[in-house]
Amino acid sequence: MLDGLINGIFNGISIGAVLLIVALGLAIVFGLMGVINLAHGELMMLGAYTTYVVQNGFKSFGDGAQDFYILAALPLSFLVAALVGLALERSVIRLLYGRPLETLLATWGVSLILQQFVRSVSWAMTFGLLVVCLLLFGGRAALSKLANLGPRQKLANFVVLVLSAGIGVTLGRSLNGNDALAKPWFSARNVDVTAPSWLQDSISVTDTLSFPAARLFIIALTIICLVGTFWFLNKSAWGLRIRAVTQNRDMSACLGIPTKRVDALTFALGSGLAGIAGCAVTLLGSVGPNLGSNYIVDAFMVVVVGGVGKLVGSIVAALIIGIVSYILGSGTLVLMLPSSEAIQPLIDTATFFATTSMAKVLVFALIIAFLQVKPAGLFPQKGRSVEV
């Protein structure tokens, strides 16, 4: 009985840990900055694909190296997702601050682009894109340095854009004739990441009680990410700037804080955490272009239930949702109820919801009911600091 309870709590916490690591980046991007980034899941996906690539790289070193790929994959996933996030902030999101609807649409578009990108990316495509970028940015930089065009600058930039796009597309298409270069790296099919052997075991505590190592690893990783994020936001100089800018952008600028750099850094940090989450979820299932869309709803759910702008809220919400989902979905609730005629309908209802997908339906219903009572979440922001 006690084993069953501990097992239930452990599984609940482990579901909660996955939810939390997925939601942590979003808690920064959406919670602190107020940016509704629907491409957040795709940043996770990029982290997962980075892990896949790193693992393949380690495979070539032999079996011994294979066991340690994850130590390299974690920082690299962070880096790749953070860099893509940085590019996204500078090119799209920066233009849309304070316009949630437009941000929502634009980032949704970006998420579709990223999904298709991993499906069709090949050497030919990479070369084509590289050439476009080099010609475009190089050409613009050269133009602004060499010639003072004044009002004709815009026209010149447009011409450079058209020319470089043309050259890049032509190059890409001609390279596509070569089968080796045209072969997609990942294709649309799911790929599998094999967990290191030390994460495939279970750690047995008693005869009936054992914890899967991969789950323990994710819990530990979540705690490390949480502590790291808290430390960075509350103790570092950039954390202080981030907190100042997210609370009062204009005044922060008047005090000399480079607000645009702070925005870019904050967004990159949130994106990088999504990359780590992507790396973590490769231990639980296969990796595909749709990986992100499977998690994005959960992530928003955690942040909203916890209270937007409160990291503590996200933690509590993730744990509660995780434990409730597990207790409902695994049928633990059915076992806990005493079997008697009087509550037979209740037992039937509990049995009905005792599958993963039906449990999810019930959890969503509970969340909707909860948000009717507390629309601002578990930990609403109080006092005069509330912002819409």
């Binding site: 907190r243 609370q247 009062n248 008047c254 005090l255 804080i257 480079p258 600091s385």
Partner: protein, 252 residues
């Protein structure tokens, strides 16, 4: 020229250019013409007061100086250099301190963090080692010393006003913009704030541009400009501030 190169410590040999020189500044909010051909000069070490009734554009003018608003018509010269193209954070790092109307304390940072954020205006000159709050700040505003760990948003209006001025001073500005620092503050604290501003000028020699309605405080300034309907309509030494001018431009 980089911003850090333009910034010198506050006590320096007097240069020829005035601290702040605004010429021909026009500003529009959409269709409405808010500032009309404003010319204004603040000399080094001078305290200049801007007076006028509510809604004549005093705050808009200050926001144009710090860079929260910007206009293409007219030139704002700071320390002999046009700063129209600078963003607000760059102007702050160039040495303009801003104490806004409504104080704008960052609510969920502690008082200490609010003060430390003021160091940002030092840019690369900020101390690399452990960041501390200079004793001068607590001499000027002793009340802050006892509440360093309180949240900025929990302070009373008067305390927030003192914190706001202290925060601007942390960045060692050469020009301090004060927007109605005594508005809605109880009389005993008004006197504290007045004395603090006078001591700041005496000890650091910075220039101050003050927007104020409180007559006693206005008389502390060296020079005044009076605004009406977005334009400067009168100016002169505050010694010659006549009752007529007071009647016309101060909401007393």
């Amino acid at each position: 020229m980089t911003t850090t190169a333009a910034v010198q410590p506050t006590k320096q040999a007097p240069a020829t250019a005035p601290m702040l020189k605004i010429s021909g500044l026009n500003f529009y909010y959409g269709e409405s013409h808010i500032l009309r051909d404003v010319d204004l000069t603040v000399s080094r070490g001078q305290m200049v007061c801007l007076i006028g009734r509510n809604g004549v554009g005093k705050t808009t003018l200050l926001k144009n100086i710090i860079g929260l608003l910007s206009s293409r018509e007219g030139v704002i010269n700071y320390d002999g250099q046009p700063i129209n193209a600078f963003t607000a954070d760059r102007r702050a790092r160039a040495g303009i301190g801003y104490v806004p109307q409504g104080r704008e304390i960052i609510p969920r940072l502690s008082v200490k963090e609010n003060l430390l954020i003021g160091l940002e205006a030092l840019g690369n000159r900020a101390p690399k080692a452990k960041k501390e709050i200079p004793e001068l700040i607590f001499e000027l505003f002793p009340v802050l010393k006892t509440m360093l760990s309180r949240m900025g948003g929990d302070l009373s209006g008067g305390q927030q006003q003192q914190l706001s001025i202290a925060r601007a001073l942390m960045g060692q500005p050469q020009l301090l913009l004060l927007d109605e620092p005594t508005e809605g503050i109880q009389p005993s604290i008004i006197l504290d704030i007045e004395n603090a501003v006078r001591r700041i000028i005496e000890t650091t020699g910075i220039s101050v541009l003050l927007v104020e309605q409180h007559l006693h405080f206005v008389r502390q300034a060296d020079y005044y400009y009076a605004m009406q309907k977005g334009g400067i309509v009168a100016s002169g030494s505050t010694d010659q501030l006549s009752n007529d001018v007071i009647q016309e431009f101060l909401a007393v």
